[in-house]
């Protein structure tokens, strides 16, 4: 009975904030990553490995390192932070906007890499056939390339979303824990464990496990069905 009451009285604000952050980050990253992934897939320039390494950095860096540098760059004492605060009145640390900026860095490789490998797997002649049909590069990306890399596209969108929901270290450093503003689900769980509210922490954590599993399962089911269509 106590357990049911706990579930009913659960504060869902951290979850809503986590999903809002993940949604906004996914949309922004898709727009930013599309030209980058396309460039990396088509380029044989010497700068390509450098760009690829920079893009992949958030995978290997400890979130605290990434969070620290983002905090340094976005703080009002830095040129970037001061510029946004003076010109637009936007505070980039300990705010939702700051979390979005940090999440875009943190989740960048999860959007770029699947898109890039999808574009690289395309038949080069198919893209050339589109150019010969009179279509520009932009038209070719949207009308030929993207519809032919659906599994990579879905993987990029969903994994970016799920990865952002699962952020902890970076958001804690850049956003802190302001209820309704920066206190996302992962931070809320951490705080509950700190104050030994294990029951609520369990419910929050189980909910995160369930959502993450459903998200990943749907990606694998979709990709499996796409492969079957490809075979047929």
């Amino acid at each position: 009975m106590q357990g049911i009451l706990n579930v009913i009285s659960l504060d869902v604000a951290p979850f809503i904030l986590s999903f809002k952050l993940a949604g906004v980050t996914t949309v922004i990253l898709f727009v930013l990553s599309l030209p980058l992934a396309w460039y990396l897939s088509q380029s044989s320039s010497k700068t390509k490995p450098v760009l690829e390494a920079v893009t992949a950095l958030p995978i290997v860096l400890p979130p605290s390192v990434l969070g620290f540098y983002i905090l340094v760059v976005l703080s009002p004492n830095s040129a970037v932070g001061a510029f946004f605060e003076d010109l637009f009145g936007v505070k980039l640390v300990f705010s939702f906007t700051g979390l979005v900026v940090a999440s875009c860095f943190y989740s960048l490789p999860f959007m770029v890499q699947p898109l890039q490998s999808g574009f690289e797997s395309l038949n080069k002649h198919m893209l050339e056939a589109s150019y010969l049909a009179g279509k520009s590069k932009l038209q070719t990306v949207f009308k030929v390339a993207l519809p032919n890399i659906k599994p990579s596209l879905i993987t990029a969108l969903i994994i970016t979303f799920a990865h952002t929901v699962g952020e902890f270290g970076v958001v804690l450093m850049v956003g802190g824990s302001i209820p309704g503003e920066t206190k996302v689900a992962s931070v809320a769980i951490y705080e509950m464990v700190e104050v030994m509210e294990y029951g609520t922490a369990h419910i929050y954590s189980a909910f995160m496990v369930l959502i993450s599993f459903i998200v990943l399962l749907s990606v694998y089911i979709f990709n499996h069905s796409q492969r079957k269509i490809g075979v047929l």
Partner: protein, 228 residues
């Protein structure tokens, strides 16, 4: 008339070589481009299509496609190109592949009828056989009503029966539309039957240019002499 005078340094599997080609093609001619693998045939087609850079000049009916000051991108060259691997848009059906190039539905229907593909017009191209895919590719290339049709070994991936059928359809479309055509081929029979003229490319240079009966009989004699 099409005038070609191009130069390009190639880095191939057999080492570096120069592609040096200077030729004229009359409007409506059908040319078979022959030569060993690595002789530069595909590169020549790709340069004509604007898919690869080269130095020199290409002018088509007095329009400069390639010159010192100007290079027209593939989008602005009136080219139909048939790739060896078909390169169809796999997320579209047969008709959509054609209409992607040009929204002229009546032309699309006419081409599909001529190549006996009308009943497959709503089928996704993924499910088609190799021969059907190459016919769709041929129709798609014709949708632009190009000034120059380039075919890179269109028959090589097909079985003999399908090769004969496609060969007949290529000839039918060439006679109907009179489009100047260059076809890369290793198939002497097809080249003999389809072409008005044969070019033989060797290490980037044209070493023979003439009517099929002249070129093929001459090369047969050479083979015969070598065998003796």
């Amino acid at each position: 008339m099409i005038q070609i005078d191009i130069h390009k340094r190639l880095h191939g599997a057999h080492g570096d070589m120069d592609l040096d080609v200077s030729l004229e093609i009359q409007k409506g001619e059908f040319i078979a481009l022959m030569g060993e693998s690595g002789s530069g045939k595909t590169t020549l087609l790709r340069v004509l299509a604007g898919l690869e850079n080269a130095e020199g000049d290409i002018s088509v009916e007095d329009v400069l496609w390639l010159g010192d000051q100007k290079t027209l991108p593939p989008q602005q060259r009136e080219i139909g190109f048939i790739f060896q691997d078909y390169a169809l848009f796999e997320h579209m059906n047969v008709e959509e592949n054609l209409l992607f190039v040009n929204q002229d539905r009546s032309l699309a229907q006419r081409l599909l009828e001529m190549t006996e593909l009308s009943r497959l017009s709503q089928r996704n191209v993924k499910g088609l056989s190799g021969g059907q895919k190459q016919r769709v590719s041929l129709c798609r290339a014709m949708m632009k009503q190009p000034k120059l049709l380039l075919m890179d070994e269109p028959l090589s991936a097909l079985d003999p029966a399908m090769r004969t059928k496609l060969q007949d359809e290529i000839l039918k479309l060439h006679k109907t539309f009179g489009i100047t055509t260059i076809m890369v081929s290793h198939d002497t029979d097809a080249s003999y039957q389809l072409a008005d003229r044969i070019w033989v490319l060797d290490h980037g240079k044209i070493i023979a240019d003439g009517r099929p009966e002249e070129i093929l009989v001459k090369s047969t004699k050479e083979v015969y002499t070598l065998c003796k």
